[in-house]
């Protein structure tokens, strides 16, 4: 049911004609985020410029029970910003001011549309930086990072977005504005800020974020090491951890991923190695140098075939450029691909990689691997060609890999979120009761279910559509929900 014209007029009265998009060609460009497999054209796209206008938009939605979906840069890989038919998209990318950098308290206050990299750019003159660094950091916004609890290569040592956000100004689904969190780690009562972080836009819209900034480490040492097998690289990671070293980052790429990344960036990765490991240490000169020597020794012990130490900030940047472009660069070696984001306990890395390889062979599809080896967060990229009718096979393989991670005691998602993409796999990880309780928490925030509905938790229509999978829906079986 399309929105009635008077409702559109309410938004126009609030934002002005230019900032309310309703032309179907224009709204089409908002039909998906970084997950292109799911597309829904929203009824309207609202592009407010201030937090007050965001709250105003939400109040109109609440009054008319119009579902709304917040969107930042639209780079999410789980369909978290997928619009809702008959609903509105509220774009936050125009709220893009760095409101304050406070070097003495080591924090910054940001609007949600500020990109992750801009935070560090604003902090850098003070010798500070913002630690979470998702690969899309040059484009993804802090609002989206809050929604997804984004990680990045350096979260092994430094943690995720949730560990770096002090407080949030949030527009709740009823249009009221609240502050979650405080100026210090000491909070008043339950950590609602922590609940909101990573809630994938289902609990409200963040309009202001206060983040912690860290002092730029005294030294950073980065090495790129080639290994004769992914397993050898994995053993290096285990030994580093066993030595009591907490590296800033440990990233692994296999031959296919290297081929793509090197093709995109020419960053200097070896094209003939089965596996490459990027290890970065940071800290004080004393600690870093000692541990770096240990790491090099561990690499040698496991048959490292080439060890390249970044000799300058430019070389370090190059290594990271290659790594961070890896996902998008896979577009160079395959017409289509699906990125997975499962996590396994690190000690089961080798085992799971063998299983993935076997599953890929069985499905007749190539799987490229890029992963955060330090924390067991895998990013298997299932390569396929839609034109050759491989889509369904690829989807099956991809979902199978995600569920394999759960089976191994891990998680469906380490950083990309559940969104629409993996909502139907949630019952593989959580029981009916767990999901029902999450839904109750959601109802505490959003009793009318208008805030990014259909994401994160499985719903019967979402998951019933797939023949043979998750039908009948467990929540339905439990009598907790009914088919609409």
């Amino acid at each position: 049911m399309p929105l009635a014209a008077p409702i559109r007029d309410e938004f126009v009265a609030l934002l002005g004609e230019r900032d309310v998009l309703s032309d179907p060609v224009r709204t089409r460009t908002y039909e998906c985020d970084g997950l292109t497999g799911s597309r829904v054209v929203p009824e309207l796209v609202l592009l407010p410029r201030t937090a007050d206008d965001v709250a105003g938009c939400v109040r109109v939605c609440a009054r008319h029970r119009i579902p709304f979906v917040a969107r930042g840069a639209g780079t999410g890989l789980s369909g978290g910003a997928l619009p809702v038919a008959d609903g509105v998209v509220i774009g936050l990318n125009r709220l893009n001011r760095v409101l304050e950098v406070d070097p003495e308290n080591r924090r910054a206050v940001l609007e949600p549309g500020v990109t992750n990299l801009e935070i560090t750019a604003a902090a850098a003159p003070h010798g500070l930086y913002y630690a979470p660094d998702p690969s899309s950091q040059q484009v993804c916004t802090i609002g989206g990072n809050v929604a997804e609890n984004s990680g990045g290569a350096h979260c092994l040592k430094y943690g995720f977005t949730t560990n770096h956000v002090l407080s949030l100004e949030v527009v709740l689904p009823d249009g009221s504005v609240v502050t979650l969190g405080s100026d210090s780690a000491e909070q008043s009562g339950p950590d609602l800020r922590g609940v909101f972080l990573g809630s994938e836009g289902t609990l409200g819209i963040v309009t202001k974020i206060t983040v912690r900034l860290l002092r730029t480490p005294e030294v950073m040492r980065t090495l790129l090491a080639d290994f004769p097998s992914v397993a050898a690289g994995g053993q290096v990671v285990s030994d580093i951890v066993a030595a009591g070293i907490v590296p800033a980052a440990v990233e692994m790429m296999d031959a296919l991923a290297i081929e793509a990344a090197e093709g995109a960036t020419g960053a200097g990765y070896s094209l003939d190695t089965p596996a490459a490991l990027v290890v970065e240490l940071d800290g004080t000169v004393e600690e870093c140098e000692e541990q770096f020597a240990q790491v090099k020794e561990i690499c040698d012990r496991h048959g490292c075939t080439r060890l390249h130490v970044a000799g300058s900030p430019e070389e370090r940047a190059n290594i990271w450029r290659g790594r961070k472009a890896a996902f998008a660069a896979v577009g160079r070696i395959s017409p289509d691909y699906i990125v997975q984001d499962g996590v396994v306990p690190r000690t089961r890395l080798s085992e799971v990689l063998e299983r993935i390889e076997a599953m890929g062979t069985e499905a007749g599809l190539r799987v490229a691997n890029v992963f955060h080896a330090g924390d067991g967060n895998l990013h298997p990229l299932v390569l396929f060609s839609a034109a050759d009718g491989e889509t369904e096979r690829a989807e099956r393989l991809s979902a199978g890999i995600a569920e394999l991670c759960v089976e191994m005691g891990g998680s469906l998602s380490g950083e990309h979120g559940i969104g629409t993409d993996k909502a139907c796999s949630m019952p593989a990880m959580f029981g009916v009761d767990d999901l029902a309780v999450m839904d109750r928490v959601r109802a505490g925030f959003d009793p009318d279910h208008i805030c990014n509905p259909g994401k994160l938790l499985p719903t019967p229509r979402l998951c019933g559509e797939k023949p043979g999978r998750y039908r009948p829906h467990p929540l339905e079986e439990a009598g907790l929900i009914e088919r609409l």
Binding site: F160, S184, A185, T284
Partner: protein, 384 residues
Amino acid sequence: MTRAAPTTLRPTTPAEVRDAVLDVPGRLAISGAGTARHWAGRPDAVDATLDLSALSGVITHNPGDMTVSVHAGTPLADLQAELAGHGQRLALDAARAGRGATVGGLVATADAGPSALIYGGMRDLVIGTTSVLADGTMVRSGGHVIKNVAGYDMAKLLHGSYGTFGPLVEVVLRLHPVAKATACVAVDGPVDDAAERVLALMASPLEPIAVEWLSGDPGRLLVRLEGGTSTLPARVRRLVELLGDGAREVGPDAWDEHAALTTGEPGRAAGVGGAAGAAGRDAVVRIGCAPRSLAPLLGRLPATAVTAGLATGVATVTVHDASVTDVHDAVAAAGGTSVLRDRPADLDAPAWGAAPSALPLLTAIKNQLDPEARFAPGRFAPWM
């Protein structure tokens, strides 16, 4: 209406906890080691107390993955002893762990110690939880891997909940390696002086693990470093140099006094102005604000003893019980948060400062998860 004396139930398994919640009608208090019995709002009368101290022990420890799952009633000190054998630890140094505080209790009270500066609090260390709701639902969230964004993070909701949503029964924790070497540097001086030194310290690359000022005459700043056995001495020298006049390395027992002050142990503390603490009528308030606002705020509080994380903005202050409301007001005026901890059992002072803007939201979630308000009544008085 008269009531019988409340029953105390001591379940030993998660299933027994659930059964207890289902079998005992009415309102329930939750207790662990009892180390934070008097913290936050004074409990209202209940029909039964769930004592989780028997729900104890490690469930699984995966040294290679640096994760451990434990029953909620496990004393942290016991856990640390077990982990130490593997060169690992839970990176939490809350003072009351020494008195037997349990893992579940530390989560529920959002307690943390000086090393929260680097490692964060329980909210940053818990990666999975299982808890029991008022209707007997056993709910699990998170998992056994450090990196995980699947589903809402119920651990955060339980962190600082004081049991209001129900008892935790199982907690999964991420671990850190035990530091190969630890050192502590002290420099004496009043809080304002310490705050300026801390500003310089935090702008330096020395990466302190903990930075705390202790009240006394004239007060003392303690800075903890961790590192390798061969590399730490050089950093200690840099730190001593940076902190300037009077800075010197001290032994680890310097932190004992910190722990004593933080727990408000009467008689141990000399006041900020040198006055002795009013033993017996002391109240301990935990406060937090922006780090650079802390020293000026402390100057405005009638505190008899203080430990202050000058880099975190979190402090624990001991005041005469009549001053609790003044503390809440002063902290609120500085944009901070405050909660009453230990105090005389008969003290009738508000446990919490000004209500947060999210109070209606908190109430709505409480109504969703515990609609009959069975759990921990009174803990959030006067808010809800």
